[in-house]
C-alpha cells in the first residue's frame, strides 16, 4: 500500500474532479483514497453479469452505474460528460456492437473502455485490441481483475500529460524499443504506476505505453485545446519537413519552423512526430526475422508494436483517428513521389533491411507497402479470406494485412503488395536510407525475397490465395474447451487452407493460439504440407471442403481428441474420401462433448479430426453416453494422420459424470 500511496500522492487530484489533470508535469492527481471513488459505467445486456459486476465493483469501492443497453449508456455518457472515468462494456449486445460503442466513446469522450466477453478466443481478443480497447476481460470476471481497472485511467491521463510536457525531446530513437514493462504489467500495477510516474521524463514510457496500450491515444493537446486534425496537406508538410531535417535530426521545434503553419504548436508537432516514429519503427520491425516467436500469440504480444505490417499500424493509427487513410496515402505519395536519386530495387537495397527492431532503419520491401490505401485494399482482401470464424487468424490476418506466405503462393494480398513493392520500396528506401545513414552504418541484412517477407511466422501462417468461399463454407469450429490453454506452439492454422491449394506449399508450421479456447477445425481443404508432419497427399477427388480438410487434418497428426473416449474408437472411421460425406454433411460435432472439460490446446486439431470422422457418416453417432457410436469403415488415412498422434487421454472426469447424470 505504501507504493500505492506514493503514487496516489504524486498524482493528486480531488476525488470529485477525477478527470481533470494538472498541466504541471506528470502530475495527474488523484485523491488519497484512490482508486476508491472511481466512477465506472458498466454496460452489459446480460443482467446476471451486470448484477455481479455491480456488486464486485462496489466491493472495490468504485462508484458504479449500470446500463443494460448500449444506446442508453451512450446517452448517459453524452449527457454527463466528464462524469465517468472508465467504461466497461460487453462485446455482444443486441442494440449496438460493443466495439462500436468503444469507438464512439473513444472519439467523443475519450474515456478508457474495457471490453468484456465470454468469448476468450484469441481472435476475439485481437479484435478488441484492434478497436482500441484498453483491456479485454474474459468472463467469468473475477473481482481481482476489476480492482485493477483504475490503471487504465491513470495511464491514459498520465500519457496525455507526459506528451504535453516532454514533447520536445524526441531525439533518441533507441529508447523507443525499451518499453516500460512495468507499467503495463497488470500484476504489478502499483509498482508500475509508480515507476511510470517517477520516470516521467522518459519518452520510452510513453512510446511503449502508447504502443501497447493506447491504440486510441489521443492528441495530448486535446484536453486543453481543440484537437489538431492532421489533414493530408498538413501531414505532407510535416513529412517533407522531417525529410528535410532527417528523421533523427527532426525535432519538433525545427519541424514547426519548417512547416510554418500558423496555429500549430510545438506540442502538436511533437506528438505527431512521436507517432510517426512509432509508425516507422513498426515498419522496420517487419524485417525482424529471428526475434519473433513461433507462436502467433507470441507474435501478437511481443510484436504488437513492431508489427511487420504497416497495415496494422495504419489501422491502429486510423483507429486512433490520428492519421486518416488519406493522410497516409498522402504520406506514401509524398514519400514515394519524391524523385529519388537512389532508386534501387528492393533487392539492391540490402542495407535497408534490418532485422533489428530499433528505430526506423529499414523497411522491407514488401512492407514498404504498408501505407495507406493499398493496404486498405489488401486488408479487405484478407478479410475476405479470413472469415470470422477462422481460428485466431481472422483478426490477425486482417489486422496484419498480408502475411506473405513463405516462398510459395503468395497470398492474394501480398500480391497486391507486391505490386507496390517496387515503387514503394524505392521511395521508402530512400527515406530510410537517410535515416539509416545518419544513424548507423552497418548491419544490413540482405533483403529477403519479397515472398519471404516475414519469416516470422511464415512457416506458421499460410495465407491462401484463393477466395474465401471455402472458408465460409467450411468454417467449423470444434470447440475444444473453454478452459484449454493453448499455449502450444505446435498448432496448425487450418484457417489458412483453401481448397484449391493443392499445389501451394503452405507450410503450416505452427499455429499457436495462445488462448484459443475453442478452436475450430473445419472443412479446410487443400493440400497443406504441415511441418513437422510429413506431407500428405491431397485427395484430388475431395470435392467438398470437408473432405479435404479431413485430409488435412490427418496430416496434422495430432489428432484424436482424447476427450471423447469413443472417438478413439473411431479412428478407423476417418475417411478421407470424398465419396460420401463430404458434401454437405454438416460437420458432426464432436462438440457435444460437453464432456470435455479440459482439452489441451493441440486437441484443437483433434477436434477437427474427429469432426471429420463424423463427417463421413451420418450414421456416425456420438451418443452422449458415449456408448453407441457407429462407424463406417472405408477410411483412408493418408500417412501419418493416424493416431500415432499422442492422443490425449486426459479425459476429465466429467464425461463419466455427465453420463451418470444422463442416466439418472
Amino acid at each position: 500500500m505504501a507504493a500505492f500511496q506514493r503514487v496516489a500522492s504524486s498524482l493528486s487530484t480531488s476525488a470529485s474532479s477525477y478527470g481533470s489533470c494538472k498541466d504541471a508535469g506528470a502530475d495527474v492527481t488523484v485523491s488519497d483514497q484512490f482508486p476508491a471513488g472511481l466512477r465506472v459505467l458498466v454496460v452489459d445486456d446480460d443482467i446476471t453479469c451486470l448484477r455481479l459486476l455491480e456488486k464486485m465493483l462496489c466491493r472495490c469501492l468504485y462508484h458504479v452505474t449500470t446500463c443494460s443497453q448500449a444506446t442508453a449508456a451512450l446517452k448517459l455518457l453524452r449527457e454527463r460528460k466528464g462524469y465517468f472515468d472508465v467504461v466497461l462494456s460487453d462485446v455482444h449486445m443486441p442494440d449496438m456492437d460493443g466495439f462500436k460503442l468503444l469507438e464512439l466513446v473513444g472519439l467523443e469522450m475519450d474515456l478508457p473502455v474495457i471490453m468484456m466477453s465470454a468469448d476468450g478466443r484469441t481472435s476475439a481478443v485481437m479484435r478488441g485490441i484492434r478497436h482500441g480497447a484498453c483491456d479485454y476481460l474474459i468472463k467469468p470476471i473475477r473481482e481481482e481483475e476489476l480492482k485493477n481497472i483504475w490503471q487504465h485511467v491513470i495511464r491514459k491521463k498520465w500519457n496525455e500529460n507526459k506528451e504535453q510536457e516532454h514533447s520536445g525531446s524526441f531525439e533518441d530513437n533507441d529508447c523507443y524499443k525499451q518499453g516500460n514493462d512495468d507499467i503495463e504489467n497488470a500484476s504489478s500495477v502499483n509498482e508500475g504506476g509508480e515507476e511510470g510516474v517517477l520516470k516521467g521524463q522518459k519518452k520510452r514510457n510513453i512510446a511503449k505505453e502508447e504502443d501497447d496500450n493506447e491504440l486510441e491515444n489521443d492528441d495530448p493537446s486535446a484536453s486543453k485545446k481543440p484537437r489538431v486534425v492532421w489533414s493530408v496537406e498538413l501531414h505532407q508538410q510535416f513529412v517533407s519537413a522531417v525529410n528535410q531535417l532527417g528523421i533523427d535530426k527532426a525535432v519538433p521545434k525545427r519541424i514547426l519552423e519548417l512547416m510554418n503553419v500558423p496555429g500549430l504548436t510545438r506540442e502538436n508537432v511533437a506528438s505527431h512526430l512521436q507517432k510517426f516514429r512509432l509508425y516507422l519503427k513498426r515498419l522496420s520491425g517487419v524485417a525482424q526475422q529471428g526475434g519473433i516467436s513461433n507462436t502467433f500469440c507470441g507474435l501478437m504480444d511481443s510484436n504488437v508494436k513492431v508489427n511487420p505490417f504497416g497495415r496494422f499500424d495504419i489501422q491502429t493509427l486510423d483507429a486512433s483517428g490520428q492519421i486518416p487513410p488519406q493522410t497516409l496515402a498522402a504520406l506514401h505519395a509524398e514519400l514515394f513521389g519524391r524523385p529519388t536519386g537512389s532508386l534501387v530495387t528492393a533487392v539492391d537495397q540490402p542495407a535497408l533491411l534490418q532485422a533489428s527492431m530499433q528505430g526506423p532503419k529499414c523497411i522491407p520491401v514488401e512492407h514498404g507497402v504498408a501505407f495507406g490505401q493499398p493496404l486498405v485494399k489488401c486488408q479487405s482482401n484478407i478479410s475476405k479470406h479470413f472469415p470470422r470464424n477462422v481460428i485466431s487468424f481472422e483478426d490477425v490476418a486482417s489486422g496484419f494485412g498480408a502475411w506473405p506466405s513463405n516462398s510459395n503462393g503468395t497470398v492474394g494480398p501480398s500480391s497486391n503488395l507486391g505490386g507496390m513493392n517496387g515503387q514503394n520500396s524505392n521511395m521508402l528506401m530512400d527515406i530510410l536510407q537517410q535515416q539509416k545513414q545518419q544513424q548507423q552504418s552497418q548491419q544490413q541484412s540482405p533483403l529477403p525475397e519479397p515472398s519471404r517477407s516475414i519469416n516470422v511466422q511464415p512457416s506458421c501462417l499460410v495465407v491462401p490465395s484463393q477466395s474465401s468461399a471455402t472458408f465460409q463454407a467450411g468454417n467449423s469450429h470444434a470447440s475444444v474447451d473453454h478452459n484449454c490453454s493453448y499455449n502450444r506452439s505446435a498448432m496448425i492454422d487450418y484457417s489458412l487452407l483453401s481448397p484449391q491449394l493443392n499445389n501451394s506449399s503452405l507450410n503450416i508450421g505452427q499455429i499457436s493460439n495462445g488462448d484459443l479456447k475453442t478452436t475450430s477445425v473445419s472443412g479446410y481443404s487443400g493440400s497443406v504440407s504441415i511441418s513437422p508432419l510429413s506431407p500428405c497427399s491431397v485427395n484430388p477427388d475431395n470435392t467438398s471442403q470437408q473432405g479435404r480438410s479431413s485430409t488435412m487434418a490427418i496430416q496434422v497428426g495430432r489428432q484424436l481428441p482424447g476427450f471423447v473416449p469413443n472417438i478413439s474408437n473411431f479412428q478407423g472411421s476417418y475417411s478421407a474420401k470424398s465419396s460420401e460425406v463430404l458434401d454437405q454433411r454438416p460437420l458432426r460435432n464432436l462438440g457435444f462433448t460437453g464432456e470435455c472439460t479440459s482439452i489441451p490446446s493441440w486437441l484443437a486439431v483433434d477436434e477437427f479430426e474427429s469432426t471429420m470422422r463424423n463427417l463421413d457418416h451420418e450414421k456416425f453417432y456420438m451418443d452422449i453416453s458415449g456408448n453407441k457410436v457407429k462407424q463406417e469403415p472405408s477410411i483412408e488415412f493418408v500417412d501419418n494422420a493416424r493416431v500415432g498422434i499422442p492422443i490425449l487421454q486426459q479425459l476429465p472426469p466429467s464425461p463419466s459424470d455427465l453420463m451418470s447424470v444422463c442416466t439418472e
Binding site: 470447440s479 473453454h482 460435432n589 462438440g591 457435444f592 460437453g594 464432456e595 466429467s654
Partner: protein, 159 residues
C-alpha cells in the same frame, strides 16, 4: 433442538455443495459469488441465481425456437444467444452448463443442425439438473436461516 437442526442443515448443504463441485456442476466462480454476499446484500446469491434462471430460460426458449424452426439458418443469432448463456453461466460458476455451451457453439459454427439439437438437449438437461440442485441448496439455506434465526443471529453463508 434448533441448534442441532442448524448444524445438520449446514452439514447437508456442505455435502451437497461438495458433490456439486465434485461433479463439476459448479466451480470456484460459485465460491466467488458466495463471497459477494454480505450484510449489505444478504440474499445476493439467491438473487443473482434467480436472475440467472430467469434469463437462461428465456435463452433456452429462444434457442429451442430457433432450432425447431424448419427453415432455421441463422446460426449467427444462435451464437449470440449462446455467447450470452456462456457468459452468465460461467459468471455464476455453472461449469457444466458452460461447457455444453462451448460445444454447442462449436456445432453452431459448423452449421451443424443435428449437432446443435443434440447439444441443446444436453444443455437443457444440464440446466435442469443445476436448477434443481440449486433450488435444493436454497431451500436448505432457508430452513437453516429459519432454524438459526429462531435462536441465533442471522449467520452469513460461509464457504
Amino acid at each position: 433442538m434448533l441448534g442441532w437442526g442448524v448444524d445438520r442443515l449446514r452439514a447437508d448443504m456442505s455435502r451437497l455443495l461438495a458433490i456439486l463441485f465434485h461433479q463439476g456442476v459448479l466451480d470456484e466462480q460459485f465460491l466467488q459469488l458466495q463471497q459477494l454476499q454480505d450484510e449489505s446484500s444478504p440474499n445476493f446469491v439467491s438473487e443473482v441465481v434467480n436472475i440467472y434462471f430467469h434469463e437462461s430460460e428465456k435463452l433456452l426458449r429462444n434457442l429451442r425456437g430457433l432450432l425447431l424452426d424448419r427453415e432455421f439458418s441463422d446460426y449467427k443469432k444462435m451464437g449470440i444467444h449462446l455467447n450470452q448463456f456462456m457468459g452468465s453461466s460461467s459468471s455464476i460458476g455453472a461449469n457444466r452448463v458452460r461447457n455444453v455451451c462451448v460445444a454447442f457453439r462449436a456445432a453452431s459454427e459448423q452449421n451443424n443442425r443435428a449437432g446443435c439439437l443434440r447439444a441443446l438437449e444436453l444443455l437443457e438437461h444440464e440446466y435442469c439438473y443445476l436448477k434443481n440442485k440449486l433450488h435444493e441448496l436454497f431451500q436448505m439455506e432457508q430452513q437453516r436461516v429459519l432454524a438459526a434465526g429462531a435462536r441465533y443471529p442471522l449467520q452469513q453463508q460461509q464457504h
